[in-house]
Symmetry: C2
Subunit: 424 residues, 2 copies
Amino acid sequence: MKKTALSELGRRVKAPPISWLMELALSRPQLISLAAGFTDHETLPVGPVRELFAGLLSSRRTGQPALQYGSTTGDPVLRQLTAADFSLLDGVLEPRKVHSPDRMLITNGSQQLLYMAVEALCDPGDIVLVEDPTYFVFLGILQARGAASRGVRLDHDGLNIGHLEQVLERLKRSSELRRVKMIYIVSYYQNPTGVTTSFEKKVKALKVLRRYEKAAGHPIYLLEDAAYRELRFRGADIKSALAVKGHSDRVIYAGTYSKPFATGIRVGFGILPESLFAPVLHLKGNHDFGTSNLPQKLLAQAIVSGKYEEHLATLQKRYAHKARVMRRALQENFPVEVELWEPGGGLYYWARLPHSIKTGIKSKLFQSALAHDVLYVPGALCYCDDPTRRKPDHEMRISFGAATEENIRVGVARLGAVLRDLIK
Amino acid sequence: MKKTALSELGRRVKAPPISWLMELALSRPQLISLAAGFTDHETLPVGPVRELFAGLLSSRRTGQPALQYGSTTGDPVLRQLTAADFSLLDGVLEPRKVHSPDRMLITNGSQQLLYMAVEALCDPGDIVLVEDPTYFVFLGILQARGAASRGVRLDHDGLNIGHLEQVLERLKRSSELRRVKMIYIVSYYQNPTGVTTSFEKKVKALKVLRRYEKAAGHPIYLLEDAAYRELRFRGADIKSALAVKGHSDRVIYAGTYSKPFATGIRVGFGILPESLFAPVLHLKGNHDFGTSNLPQKLLAQAIVSGKYEEHLATLQKRYAHKARVMRRALQENFPVEVELWEPGGGLYYWARLPHSIKTGIKSKLFQSALAHDVLYVPGALCYCDDPTRRKPDHEMRISFGAATEENIRVGVARLGAVLRDLIK
């Protein structure tokens, strides 16, 4: 049998570009990986989770529901707690409408929500606008779906609105606007740049999108990926796009409990506009008819008991410290020619090198770093395939999430030495 | 904005037909539901899970990995244990090849494996053969994907092979064979009929499929859904289709730990032929880059400690008992005109009424049962939309899974009274 039975999706889907890096790191234990987006091992809440489970499973009354099927939408208590928390954070005056538990869906990490949003909106050939650069796994979802993407330039406070308008205008002129379904932004401590989108930019972006809806012939949504929102260690929280008055019906909000509590539990949530709630809920029904009940009950208990808040505070302090360790190491070791993007939270530094220094897997820099046992994520992996511009390849993402302090120091020093060598 | 931005998938996806029944049951607490496919509340292993977590989370060494991200394929220990168990069950001589941990993927319940198998193989317009009747959520997946289905008659020992050949022959004549990607069978204590497929039928089915591959121009797979395999309470285990010599490269096996241990943990697994492993793995990467690590570590510990086996034995005894309670109630209350299908495991009885008695949601029987506060699953919901035959609508699925013994007795008695009333 020479021919394959695979569907178009099955033929298109690929391994994420990062998986090669991950395997490399696993196969060479001496390698210092500043590439992994894992969270800090030390901070995982082993003690709190042990106590929470001991409580939850101490009686059949509370234990049985945690071990039984739940509903496809997710645990009602967790949804209520989440809705209350996030409407408070967003200072929304109509919490019942915008942040209602009835618009909320618990998912297997926020990743599943991203996947289902693309499933619900995109046919092959449709177009999704993304930040330039953006989260590479999302690009993989689009690629497998056969959707195209266009990059929108990223400033230090989020989308470059002028460029967003240019991109939309160009798509309008080429009669491709009817294929544009949404824009995807990672709005807090973005992966990979660490950039946080200001509230003003959210307002402006939503207004711009709305202006092009008539020509598109349908709504254009904004998918806000807030995966890192809680990992803030500087500045005040910024309201989500759901808080933009008169536009919440165009916002899909993807949140998560994995990163702020424990990545091993993989519980995320989505807040969806009414127009999308039923289709996405029914997709979820087909995927798995509901996220595992056990971690949901655990999280609800963590929130109610205060352990969640307590752990989050520890986590924030820890990442703030590790970010400082990395900053100091960068200042001491990286040549002044390198432009560093300073995050106010999250897990990443973004470094922009002189244009002449390439960072890709085949570059001298990458190979030399590897020879010195240090790994980073080449910037080019984070850029979509946009036919209207060349893919930048002189940047890198370096993470202080998973590495130990010692490894951050040593890894950055090695990387700095390699860089100085190349730049001089 | 009148037009929708939804994709074709987003527009096609529907609520499962059963969700209306579920909501009904929730909104009327006095209702006795013999419809739910939930597992027995009483048997949920609260004590064992408490002890397992206490152990797992007693040290940071074992606790941290359970709370950290895992890999997309799933926990290596759980995959190894599962592979060893199932190759033993299947008596396969080449366990390394057929049941290799390298061919195994941990999923969010077996449901996610079913979803991804369809994603990887089916484009809109493709055809999947299913048992007639079959698991309705699977029909929902096909419908949303835009795939068509054809029913293959079900005997008491599985697929009617003569009919399978007829269906394939007809598809060959109408030049539709190239659209046929797989056959889906629920091979143990089938949902909804309780039928178990004999090993001989698996051998024959795979041989028949292979004969038609040339005309199809590609492999035709057999997706074996073994969700109920471990819930056996009579007879010996039957080998899976993976054990059919020379054909394991056409078998996708979907197993689960949810039903035999605890439904709230939602951990399933797939064993995939080499040709499909990478595409499905990469789909999983896009879905959620790996099932939650915590329940996987829990299960691995449950298996190693013997608690899993112990619990399963309790469960099997309990369901055997509840099935006996239901059988007695059926014998005492159902008219002799009703043909009962006796299961050797699983959660369901299947009842075939005289053709004149309809069982659908609008039927006298269903409405009268509802008026007497008892709920069953109408048989028609379990039949695919097959243009080549009329959909039977004189059957019902009744479950002894979730209901208490008392409710089984009272519910069946009420249903029997309604039936006697209609038949006389």
